[in-house]
């Protein structure tokens, strides 16, 4: 049942995980997986900065 703040949106794929607990679980699940790679966050952020700096600009 949509509330005041959940109007139907056009042109989007709606979320399949609706409850906050389900959504937080999906976040935790990915975090848990990524913990297998210590230091990955720093490397990803560096990689991202590098890509941004070298991204073809118009």
């Amino acid at each position: 049942m949509p509330t005041e703040n959940t109007i139907p949106l056009k042109g989007v794929i709606p979320p399949k995980l609706i409850s906050l607990e389900e959504q937080l679980e999906a976040i935790r699940d990915l975090r848990e997986f990524l913990r297998q790679f210590p230091g990955l966050a720093e490397e990803v952020m560096k990689e991202r900065e590098h890509q941004q700096e070298h991204s073809p600009a118009c």
Binding site: T6, I13, Q23, L30, F33, Q51, Q52
Partner: protein, 209 residues
């Protein structure tokens, strides 16, 4: 609390990365605040693909480092340091397992994460508009940012209505903080915000909480 205003929170790649890597505590606070007040979170499909690509590239770079180490160790196995052979076998086993398991697992988990938000599908139309924006030398200047920006515009054009206020969070201030982008977005009832903390303040203001 003002419940007559429909507020939509639009976010992009950095928000996803901040959320999963716990880089900025206010990102999770914003997410929880938004969900507790039934604010819909909308993210371009492009951003989930970009986040997955960023993580995947980093993992692949680790494999490349492993390859470099294996080359050096294999040279040593013919020398007096031949006791490195078990280490070589372990590293090779680790690499094989890593390649077989990590990439598919990462993909599945990002797909799962993408189910927390409403997704703006990436389309040929969005890509074409981003390309034209580039040819016109209009900000954002980077190809990936243009794809995200055009996804946001596409969504806002389809969903604008008198009672709807949209907030677009990007912390990429250098690439998005241009007066004409603010103006273009404002015409579609989209406010541009550069930090999760700022979004939290603005949402509280709009909801009068």
């Amino acid at each position: 609390m003002n419940i007559n205003k429909n507020i939509l929170l639009l976010a992009e790649t950095n928000f996803i990365l901040d959320l999963i890597f716990e880089q900025a505590p206010e990102s999770e606070r914003l997410f929880v605040l938004a969900r507790k007040h039934d604010l819909q979170l909308i993210v371009p499909e492009y951003s989930f693909a970009e986040a997955e690509g960023n993580i995947g590239t980093t993992i692949q770079k680790r494999h490349a480092s492993l390859d470099t180490a294996l080359v050096a160790l294999k040279q040593s196995e013919r020398s007096a340091y031949h006791d490195v052979i078990p280490l070589i076998q372990q590293l090779e086993h680790f690499k094989t397992r890593s390649i077989a398991e990590e990439q598919p697992n990462l993909h599945a988990k990002i797909e799962h994460l993408a189910q927390i938000a409403s997704i703006i599908p990436f389309s040929g139309d969005i890509a074409a508009r981003a390309e034209l924006r580039g040819l016109r030398r209009l900000a954002p200047m980077k190809a990936s940012d243009r794809n995200i920006y055009e996804s946001i515009l596409h969504f806002a054009q389809a969903n604008r209505s008198p009672g709807t206020q949209m907030i677009f969070l990007t912390r990429d201030i250098g690439d998005f903080d241009f007066p004409y982008l603010h103006q273009e977005l404002a015409e579609l009832s989209v406010e541009l915000r550069f930090s999760a903390g700022d979004c939290i303040r603005r949402i509280r203001e709009l909801l009068e909480i």
